[in-house]
């Protein structure tokens, strides 16, 4: 039986909250990102260990799109982060007790 997907922050990524944006830096490559709006929200909620369904609900409420739009936004952002090497995604066979989003490298 498959477990939930676990999103893990890449070890090289350091991040900081700066007012209403989140700044990310890849220590290995020097590449940086400034997350705003939906991206900043999702980063914060991943950090808080929320489930996918809860993040979809909160994104829908915070940004006023439909649930379907919120799902698309969530999937798009996570895929972009995975492609950029900001996060790793794995399938867990054990339910994580705490946050599924490690703060590695911070």
């Amino acid at each position: 039986m498959n477990g939930p997907l676990v999103y893990q922050c890449s070890p090289a990524i350091v991040w900081a909250q700066d007012a209403d944006r989140v700044l990310l830096i890849d220590r290995d490559t020097g590449q940086s990102w400034a997350l705003r709006d939906a991206e900043a929200m999702l980063w914060d909620w991943l950090r808080g260990g929320y489930t996918r369904d809860k993040m979809v609900q909160m994104l829908s409420l915070a940004c006023s799109p439909s649930v379907e739009d919120a799902e698309r936004t969530l999937d798009g952002v996570l895929e972009n982060w995975r492609e950029a090497g900001i996060i790793h995604v794995s399938e867990s066979h054990v339910l994580s007790e705490g946050s599924a989003f490690g703060k590695a490298g911070f």
Binding site: Q17, M41, R47, G48, A62, C63, S99, K103
Partner: protein, 462 residues
């Protein structure tokens, strides 16, 4: 007597053999001798300044217009901030807390309700062109409903960006959460009021977990994280008869271990729970004296000592949110002017409900708003002659009922008057007088128990 004229906000308080002239609407405070005070009173009565030198300058200022007396809000509702009660629930069982037995303690605010409240408030901010929006979180313990904060913060930020205004978040919290959550608070909130009563024996006697375990390790861990964070951190320490003699020690311990911007000392508010736990309010004289001693320690370390009703930097008609048009939304959608429990208002014959949140909007009762605004110091006759009236404004409408007889000072009045007097002396650069004053019980009693502080009233000043 018409107390609205600034001349009726000129006070004379005896401090040893001197008179402290205090005119908050003229921004004037001066220590003068009795003869000078009488001449100034005569000058005010006849409206002429026959004095020279420094006394002439003071008479000129006091005969001037001064600032208008503070006045209750009028017109459309203009909330100073939006208050949210994410839940009345809590993960501690503080032995003095009256919220523990609240019927609604299990309720958590629905996320849609939180979103709607933010939308309503930010619509108002946008419509009125306000440059700053504020959202405050109260409890119970707001972080017991962390989802509400996580949604609210982001929704409000989005709306603030759209409105082009700044946004300020404040929370009152017990500090009982994970390190990760604490860092989130430090990163995302602007002002945090952390309840921490003192060293381990005090904290654990007052503020244990529900199963009796010590909360001290986790709360002090949070206090250290928050001390290092960007948010403005304030401690709130509840003082009882048993701990009043330890206020200086508590202040020293705070200074040695943490870096708050300020420490608010508040006497325990009697509840059925506090009485059952035999945690009684401190003697007001001892509270005031020890507050002032603790203040000196905190101020030496660059920290502010706060007693909420003795802030001499404010001029206000109401001590609390009730007079500021604040809108506080409860988990069940009730909109009220006060974050205390409804049963506690009702016990004092007050109804502080302003309306309800329904279908995404706040439905306000205009009569209820007017009623909340009427809770102000203008309607507290026993405060009319008190030099603290524009700062304390009669105190909490629910927990402090000033006596009907002017000049009758209860426990809260005594400590407020003593601490306010010291704060005025400090603002004048005359804390040296306060040093001597708190060591002389007779002098304190003479100052604090004056029946009327009005310079123009009575046969002679003080």
């Amino acid at each position: 007597m018409n107390y609205s004229h600034p001349k009726h906000s000129i006070f004379a308080i005896q401090v040893f053999d001197q008179i402290l002239l205090y005119a908050p609407l003229h921004d004037l405070a001066a220590l003068v001798n009795r003869a000078a005070a009488l001449r100034l009173r005569d000058s005010l009565l006849c409206g002429k300044n026959g004095n020279e030198g420094r006394l002439g300058e003071i008479a000129s200022i006091l005969n001037g217009e001064g600032k208008p007396a503070p006045w209750p809000k009028q017109g459309d509702l203009a909330p100073e901030f939006l208050g949210l009660l994410p839940t009345r629930g809590c993960n501690l069982a503080c032995r003095y807390c009256g919220f523990l037995t609240a019927d609604e303690s299990h309720k958590v605010m629905d996320l849609k309700l939180a979103r709607d409240a933010v939308n309503w408030y930010m619509d108002w901010v946008s419509r009125t062109g306000k440059q700053r929006a504020e959202v405050h979180f109260f409890g119970g313990e707001p972080f017991c409903a962390g989802e509400v904060l996580d949604l609210t913060v982001h929704r409000a930020r989005k709306r603030a960006r759209e409105a082009g205004c700044t946004l300020h978040f404040e929370a009152a919290t017990n500090g009982v959460y994970s390190e990760e959550r604490c860092r989130w608070a430090a990163d995302n909130l602007h002002t945090i009021v952390l309840s921490l009563d003192g060293p381990a024996d005090i904290q654990d006697q007052h503020r244990p977990y529900k199963d009796g375990r010590s909360s001290f390790p986790v709360v002090t861990r949070s206090a250290k994280i928050l001390s290092a964070g960007a948010a403005d951190l304030f401690f709130r320490s509840c003082v009882t008869r048993q701990t009043v003699d330890r206020m200086a020690e508590i202040a020293t311990w705070f200074c040695q271990n943490f870096s708050p911007q300020g420490v608010s000392f508040e006497p325990v508010q009697p509840t059925a729970q506090s009485e059952a736990a035999q945690l009684e309010p401190p003697d007001p004289w001892e509270f005031a004296r020890n507050f002032i001693r603790a203040a000196w320690i905190l101020e030496t370390h660059g920290m502010e000592a706060i007693y909420s009703s003795a802030d001499v930097h404010t001029r206000r008609v109401s001590f609390c949110p009730a007079g500021q048009d604040v809108v506080i939304v409860s988990p069940d959608g009730t909109v009220s002017a006060c974050y205390l429990l409804q049963r506690d208002w009702e016990a004092k014959g007050l109804d502080l409900r302003l309306g309800r949140m329904e279908n995404g909007s706040v439905h306000l009762d205009a009569d209820a708003v007017a009623s909340a605004r009427s809770l102000n110091v203008w309607n507290k006759p026993s405060c009319a002659r008190c030099f603290c009236k524009w700062h304390c404004a009669g105190g909490c409408h629910v927990n402090h009922t000033p006596a009907n007889l002017p000049g009758t000072h209860d426990r809260l009045c005594i400590q407020t008057r003593a601490i306010t007097l010291r704060n005025i002396l400090k603002a004048m650069g005359r804390d040296d007088v306060a040093h001597d004053w708190i060591e002389d019980r007779e002098a304190m009693v003479k100052s604090v128990l004056q029946v009327s502080d009005l310079l123009l009233e009575g046969e002679s000043p003080a």
